[in-house]
């Protein structure tokens, strides 16, 4: 039990390194957008989604209507639907309430980490939950620190905090590129995502690029396996 907790904590440390600065940046923005401390930290507890929270804080600051903020959040986070489906086959024999808790802390980063952890034998449940709880705790801590530093800090850019998220995506992406076809489809998804973003599909570019590139990948895989057999 204790060793499983520790090992989960250790496995989550790289995510902590990324979450503290990004959470900090969110906290600063939330403070500057006029959110009270309960709401700023509450969002990290209730929503727990990096990019959506940064966008959300910005929208609150701009005085956007609540329903529009909720709709934007929904669209920005819809990609988790695919991640959830991708992890589902691994959760054989889990109780519903365990899945309900596990799903609560499914983020881009925990998803990528669990995808790697669950490739072979199923890791211990305690370890899996320790990973998630460590990750969210660091997110909350980062948010709190950022909120209280918000008054003093004008800009998080000089210390490179705004690069934590891209760097984290690079660190998560590279280990996924185990087959040439994955590398090709990652490149295609990148191209599609940027193109759709520039064309003005600023909410749907990630999910559309993911669906299209994965479908093309499946086609390429079918085609090459058929022509080689």
């Amino acid at each position: 039990m204790k060793s499983a907790l520790l090992s989960g904590f250790r496995q989550a440390l790289p995510i902590v390194l990324g979450y503290i600065p990004v959470g900090f940046a969110y906290g600063v923005l939330a403070q500057k957008s006029g959110l009270g401390v309960v709401n700023a930290v509450g969002m990290s507890l209730i929503v727990f989604a990096g990019s959506a929270q940064l966008i959300g804080a910005g929208l609150f600051g701009a005085g956007v209507a609540p329903l529009a903020i909720i709709m934007t959040t929904f669209v920005v986070n819809l990609r988790h639907l695919l991640m959830s489906a991708a992890l589902a086959p691994k959760l054989k024999g889990w109780k519903k309430r365990q899945i309900a808790f596990f799903g609560y802390e499914l983020t881009d980063e925990t998803f990528a980490l669990h995808t790697m952890r669950m490739k072979g034998e199923m890791p211990r449940l305690t370890e899996t939950f320790a990973v998630n709880i460590t990750a969210q705790s660091s997110w909350v801590i980062g948010s709190v620190l950022g909120y209280f530093a918000g008054g003093q800090i004008a800009d998080v850019r000089p210390i490179g905090l705004d690069y934590a998220l891209p760097a984290m995506f690079i660190a998560l992406l590279v280990p996924q590129l185990v087959k040439p076809v994955y590398l090709m489809m990652a490149a295609l998804a990148a191209l599609l995502s940027v193109s759709l973003f520039l064309l003005g599909f600023e909410q749907f570019h990630v999910i559309a690029a993911t669906v299209i590139a994965s479908t093309v990948g499946l086609g390429v895989e079918q085609w090459t396996s058929r022509s080689s057999s």
Binding site: L17, P21, G36, V38, N39, M43, I46, V47, A52, G56, F60, G63, P66, M71, N77, L78, H80, L81, L82, M83, S84, A85, A86, A88, P89, L91, G93, W94, K96, G103, D108, R157, P158, G160, L161, Y163, A164, L165, P166, A167, F169, I170, A171, L172, L173, V174, Q176, A186, A189, A190, L192, S193, V194, L198, A209, T210, A213, S214, T215, L218
Partner: protein, 108 residues
């Protein structure tokens, strides 16, 4: 905006975030998916992460910027190299952030 309205909005944001995260797992866990669905889903980690990453690197200010003025893109090269060569998640994130901080300090 009133703090209690903000709070209710955050609860709504939480709900629309939680449902897509948990429903596929609840409905599909332990079931045998058709093999092609499994293979399709096996592309998702690589494609979704690339789709999340690319706009931040190529359009950090919202417009396409493929030049040596784009620090995020420049720093991505050594960051990718560290991720690939040392397979260290921790090291990759640290190198990326430190290089951006140094780049801003010395280049601007």
């Amino acid at each position: 905006m009133d703090q209690s309205i903000i709070f209710m909005t955050i609860v709504g944001m939480g709900l629309v975030t939680y449902l897509p995260r948990v429903l596929p797992m609840l409905l599909l866990s332990g079931r045998n998916l058709a093999p092609w669905i499994g293979r399709w889903l096996s592309f998702v980690p690589a494609t979704v992460l690339a789709a999340l990453l690319a706009p931040g690197l190529l359009c950090p200010e919202g417009t396409l910027n493929i030049s040596d003025e784009n620090l995020f893109l420049l720093v991505a090269l050594p960051t990718f190299l560290v991720a690939w060569k040392f397979k260290s998640f921790f090291g990759t994130v640290a190198v990326g952030m430190v290089l951006v901080a140094l780049g801003r300090y010395f280049l601007t």
